[in-house]
């Protein structure tokens, strides 16, 4: 059985983004929830599914359902880091296909910036982590830096190539009024921005913002009753690889290799049919490794693929068209914003940054330290 067209996305929305001091993780999710339902043309009373992931609070599923006043017949709190929401999309599709719910909302909210909540940077010193804890590797950036070091050594990839991705992504942000950083960026500014963990510089790293998002996922029969054109889930795959970077089997191959293969097979589309691509950019290296693992280029060719503006506005491979986690927003678990942007591109709602004639989009969410990945392929008919 396949999840192809098992569900459609009917509404998407962000909450306020950036620095939102007068907010909580609940208020931001409530904002996004209401806006996404309005976008879909649905009411709160239609919602019978809730999917949420966040490292906040005690039993987040219960807290958010209570706060919103929803008593869902289906709920999921799969937590695999920033990719959780791409996993949720597949899980919502399966639940809808099984008849467990008809209108499911995927939610995320974070106040990490204004509350200075740095929980994700703490390495535990118990269980498996006790074997990494003594060495002071900052998480997650240090783990991604190790992967970059391996790719550089194995394939001759350069900091200049990674910097070019940051520059292209910033150029997209310049076209998005909601993006946090919009000033043009140069390769030299990235290279001169200071080393965090070699070979990654400060501007190879994502933003640290507040923000929330919501995605309304509906059954095919609900989708056909709504005003806006449905954005169909054509294919989805997910894969887990490890928890700690020292346990990653090959630092140059991410679990996107497995999740991507499954999503492409389910969707029945080929790489050259993808019009727009939204790939988790916690760090520049994340995108490079993901593109290779998904098969958009061969192993070792990611650096050349990203160089010289190819992924920026006007380039042949439109990538992270909202400005990405590098320049638009990154409230800790960025994956929900990949879905929001892909849906807007497929609906033609992106104004200055609209990719012409976009009908099929690929989303790739990464979580942990290259630990989890889900690929989703969306299309408008």
């Amino acid at each position: 059985m396949s999840l192809k067209k098992a569900c459609a996305i009917a509404g998407v929305a962000e909450s306020r983004l950036g620095v939102v001091p007068d907010s909580t993780v609940l208020t931001l999710q409530a904002e996004a929830f209401a806006a996404a339902l309005a976008d879909a043309g649905l009411e709160k009373s239609d919602v019978d599914g809730i999917l949420v992931s966040g490292a906040w609070g005690r039993l987040p599923q219960l807290q958010i359902a209570e706060y919103l006043g929803v008593q869902p017949s289906y709920a999921d709190s799969t937590s695999v880091g920033g990719a959780s929401f791409e996993f949720h999309l597949g899980h919502a599709a399966a639940a809808i296909q099984a008849g467990l719910c008809k209108v499911a909302v995927i939610l995320y909210g974070s106040t990490q910036r204004s509350k200075q909540d740095k929980y994700i940077f703490q390495i535990r010193n118990d269980l498996g982590y006790q074997y990494e804890a003594p060495y002071g590797l900052p998480t997650p950036v240090g783990a991604y830096a190790l992967a970059a070091s391996r790719h550089f050594a194995e394939y001759g990839t350069t900091s200049e190539q990674l910097a070019d991705l940051a520059v292209s992504t910033r150029a997209w942000a310049g076209l998005n009024p909601k993006a946090y950083r919009r000033d043009p960026l140069t390769r030299d500014e990235v290279l001169d921005s200071g080393m965090i963990a070699s070979p990654l510089h400060r501007l190879d790293c994502c933003l640290f913002t507040d923000g929330g998002g919501a995605v309304v996922v509906v059954s095919p029969d609900v989708a056909r009753t709504l005003d806006k054109p449905p954005v169909w889930l054509l294919g989805q795959g997910e894969s887990l690889s490890h928890a700690q970077i020292s346990e990653m089997p090959d630092l140059t191959v991410t679990p996107a290799a497995k999740s991507g293969k499954r999503a492409f097979a389910m969707a029945g589309v080929t790489h050259d049919q993808i019009d727009v691509t939204e790939i988790y950019d916690s760090f520049t290296i994340t995108v490079l490794l993901t593109l290779e693992s998904l098969g958009f280029c061969k192993p070792g060719e990611g650096g050349a693929f990203l160089a010289n503006g190819r992924t920026g506005p006007g380039g042949e491979f439109p990538l992270n068209t909202n400005g990405g986690g590098l320049s638009y927003c990154h409230p800790g678990q960025y994956g929900i914003f990949l879905i929001i942007e892909a849906v807007r591109q497929l609906r033609g709602e992106c104004d200055a940054r609209q990719v012409a004639d976009a009908v099929i989009a690929l989303i790739s969410g990464t979580g942990g330290v290259l630990s989890s990945n889900s690929t989703c392929i969306l299309g408008v008919e």
Binding site: P134, L137, G142, S198
Partner: protein, 129 residues
């Protein structure tokens, strides 16, 4: 960090006891011969329970490395410092610190040494071979 104590647990206790004696211990599966690190109560390759303990010669090569400039607060006084992933010759990979401030690169040969970790317990670090 000095006042933090690493937990002692059934998986880790023999390992840390080995480190205190200058021995790099890992586990070796009797069923499938896999070298297992970090130590655990099951073979992650074949699922066999309770793999045997073994002692590594401590020689290997650098699989990946990074020099940390912006360190977590507990490590800030030491920055910059280098963290390694090392492939030991017995066929397992582990994280380690670089002892000293030599320049190292992926592929370099290293050998294990034991230094006091941030919690005061000896932990494996590596030096260029």
């Amino acid at each position: 960090m000095a006042n933090e104590t690493q937990p002692i647990d059934p998986d880790g206790d023999p390992y840390w006891a080995g480190a205190a004696e200058g021995e790099l211990r890992y586990r070796k599966c009797g069923a499938c011969e896999a070298s297992i690190f970090y130590p655990r109560a099951i073979c992650p390759a074949c699922g066999a329970p309770d793999p045997a303990w073994a002692v590594s010669k401590g020689a290997g090569s650098i699989y990946a490395c990074t020099t940390v400039h912006r360190a977590p607060p507990a490590f800030a006084d030491n920055a910059p410092y280098t963290v390694l992933l090392v492939d030991l010759d017995e066929g397992f990979r582990m994280m380690g610190g670089l002892a000293g401030d030599a320049n190292v690169a992926v592929g370099d040969r290293v050998t294990v040494t034991f230094r006091e970790g941030p919690d005061g317990r000896p932990a494996p670090y590596f030096t260029p071979a």
